[in-house]
Symmetry: C2
Subunit: 357 residues, 2 copies
Amino acid sequence: MTLRTVEWMSKKEHSPLPGTIRMVDQTRLPEELVFLETSDIQEIWAAIKVLKVRGAPAIGVAAAMGLVAGIQEFDAPATAALLDQVDEVADYLASSRPTAVNLFWALNRMKRTARANAALAPTALKERLAKEAMAIRDEDAAMCRAIGEHGVTLLKPGQTILTHCNAGGLATAEWGTALAPVYVAQERGMDVKVFSDETRPLLQGSRLTAWELGQAGIDVTVICDNMAAKVMQEGRIDAVMVGADRIAANGDAANKIGTYGVAVLAHAHHIPFYVLAPTSTLDLSLDHGDKIPIEERGRDEVINGFGRLTAPENAQVYSPAFDVTPARLITAIITEQGIARPPFEETFRAWIPSGEA
Amino acid sequence: MTLRTVEWMSKKEHSPLPGTIRMVDQTRLPEELVFLETSDIQEIWAAIKVLKVRGAPAIGVAAAMGLVAGIQEFDAPATAALLDQVDEVADYLASSRPTAVNLFWALNRMKRTARANAALAPTALKERLAKEAMAIRDEDAAMCRAIGEHGVTLLKPGQTILTHCNAGGLATAEWGTALAPVYVAQERGMDVKVFSDETRPLLQGSRLTAWELGQAGIDVTVICDNMAAKVMQEGRIDAVMVGADRIAANGDAANKIGTYGVAVLAHAHHIPFYVLAPTSTLDLSLDHGDKIPIEERGRDEVINGFGRLTAPENAQVYSPAFDVTPARLITAIITEQGIARPPFEETFRAWIPSGEA
């Protein structure tokens, strides 16, 4: 059983309306598992802002649920007033992380749902929006589950995978993307083991991936990023599974910095390299990955990330947040729709009929 | 001009005898440049013990100088008593880091020199031993300088090299091994730039390499280990230069963990990969690198290295201290004797006639 990163606690039994939102406070990991339980809209805003909840899908779910929480106590005389309140709360929540695309996507979906149901009375509309937020959560979990079901067919019992960063349940409503096949394999008693790159600079691999796999009782070993080559050389890795932030039409995949290096190493050691992500990650408007813009991050994460200066104060630092793995290094790309193998574009186009992407 | 990691400060002008040993306190880097100046044998022992001085050659120099300091004030009635004192001080200093081979090598050389000069009066023997310690320092500096002179022929003006860990002046008496060509290039106005892998878990690349190159006015940029692949992909690296702890007869080279991964990446990007080390590193008794034993280090360096737990407390960790880069990935091996290219063994045997290794 995987952990639910964000979920609702019912106010009273059989009530169609949620009471509070319960989310894992990821800033307290890996030291301790603390849940934030709140229906306070300011607290939810702050939780998104300070990364108590993180990962594009999980943020979307938290925002949708937050919107429902933000209109619960609003005593709307008429639906028109409630619609205004929906817009106001949505705008407020959207300001928590102005660069998180999935945050806007989820809030816009909630606003559209509200407008499409303007004929309902205020109380019924509140219920309708609660259902929509639940649907966003359930759809995300189902999508991840489907990625896991497809991905697990690439694994054999007793195998060991290497992963990078955290594309696990903590980044989504449940299951995760890169880790979904591991959880499904565990359900099926396949005894799959994991090596997790710590993933500098922010250490999501050791802080989050090792934590969530450990919680689930899966055998996980933390290594520094620069140890992956040796672990592969020792013949201990059967497959690499990573997530993706954006995938171009030809299959080039942008993901957390370091992913490209792992792909080169996997290729050199004849280890299959799998990218697992929802089809919403496919950007068929980009021919190839060279066109994916790469954000550069601050120097402090690299040289002052642990409360102590680990380089000369005036040191020059280069810290790209992502890299692009060329399609030729990718064995397969797994989405909720299935498994794509090179050449990827054909399969992508079949999954996303023209115009939808 | 490079920094002298360990050197002597004369007691008085024109005195053949040293007064105090001055060494860079490497535990204070990169925050501040603090010199430890002492002739106290306990302080020297402690400096070696707690890594105020580190790097095999630098430790050897510090130990030899420490031995001279330890016998300075000994009021020897006859040379025999002084020889006993030499042995006693040497044994004491040898206990500071019982696994540092170069420490024993330097102290044994000092003891042999003492016994070979037993005919000298006590004061003359003290002077002779001071000269021997200076010779150990000067020979190490000259050897590193020679590595630099050979290595610089592999570089062109304006080029950028990538290095890993610290095989720089701080690990030797002066110049370093992997970094020696960079210092020589600077003298010649060749405008060579450096990218330095931070080198987890102990961050010697950001703490020490970035510091010493910055001090020397060389353009250096710190990256996390997992960023090296992207920097290469961007075409920013012209050559990789690393040190070695042990090199087998076929050229397989053991060095700091992560070196092997960098070699695979360099090969994939058609970037020359150079190993720079003294011939004392060659171990021709080993056919190949599979026979080099690899120490495994403690989990705390990986998951609790910065005063805060960065993984679940009970997380499994794998932390090999070194890895072995196979000869086929090495473009050339540079020692004080010259440049060896594949097949390496022929050149190694010419450098070290049978029996000497």
